[in-house]
Symmetry: C2
Subunit: 128 residues, 2 copies
Amino acid sequence: MAMLRSRGIQPTPQRLAVAEYVLRATTHPSAEEVWQHVRRRCPTLSRATVYNTLNVLAEKGLIRTQVLKEGTVVFDPRTDRHHHFIDVETGRVYDVPWSAIRVSGKEKLRDFDVQEYQVVLRGRRRRR
Amino acid sequence: MAMLRSRGIQPTPQRLAVAEYVLRATTHPSAEEVWQHVRRRCPTLSRATVYNTLNVLAEKGLIRTQVLKEGTVVFDPRTDRHHHFIDVETGRVYDVPWSAIRVSGKEKLRDFDVQEYQVVLRGRRRRR
DNA sequence: CGCTGATTTGGACATAGTCTAAAAATAGAC
DNA sequence: GTCTATTTTTAGACTATGTCCAAATCAGCG
């Protein structure tokens, strides 16, 4: 609520419901997944409003969009830098702490002025 | 031609035209872009055949699919490991040599068994 | 040539996402 | 509180990417 207002987003009930869900999400939901979940609490919620709200939240820096799976954009409530691991069997996306991986050499690329980067890892999640 | 045959792909004229284009590509074309280009030489070529052929080439390891842009998969004729740089202004994708960047720490991830990885960099390409 | 299986084609279908116009809700002035 | 202007929401139309399908075509082989 205050979070939305402080970013200049008018906090309507629909926006609050969407924001509450996506900001607490531990998975990396697609817009469709957000819609399916939030709809249960807010049955008149339209798909357009979900897309609209998610895009506004992303513009204002409250969430980030990630292109990791084919066919769909996913939304990530973590806005601090981190890497991603994708389980090749389940397709699930996991966060990897920024500090766990060091990337060197990017400053030396003559042709490219790197503004941001992330490592995308694929494999199997270990069950422990 | 021999390349297709050696992988057990029957070299039809359509497949040859698609393969010739995508294997020589220096950009990272989408299926639609491949279709638009190859169609000029082969006007009856259908969209279905383009998708079909690209998927076969990818299955057989002659090209690789990459999920880097939203909304579409792009195809990459380089099958050796490398990283990618995306120009945030043009959307163009550039290859970054594997040797230019070192990633350390991935072996120490307790929860993940990493099979492959790449660094995705974003920024502005320097004009020199 | 004629048979059989593989390939191509165009269109139908599916899915992700955007756009639009009308209805509804909201904020601000009184 | 009521009125009005503005913003937001809604449902559905529309677009783009990609897959599926049945019919037509082609390739290899006896």
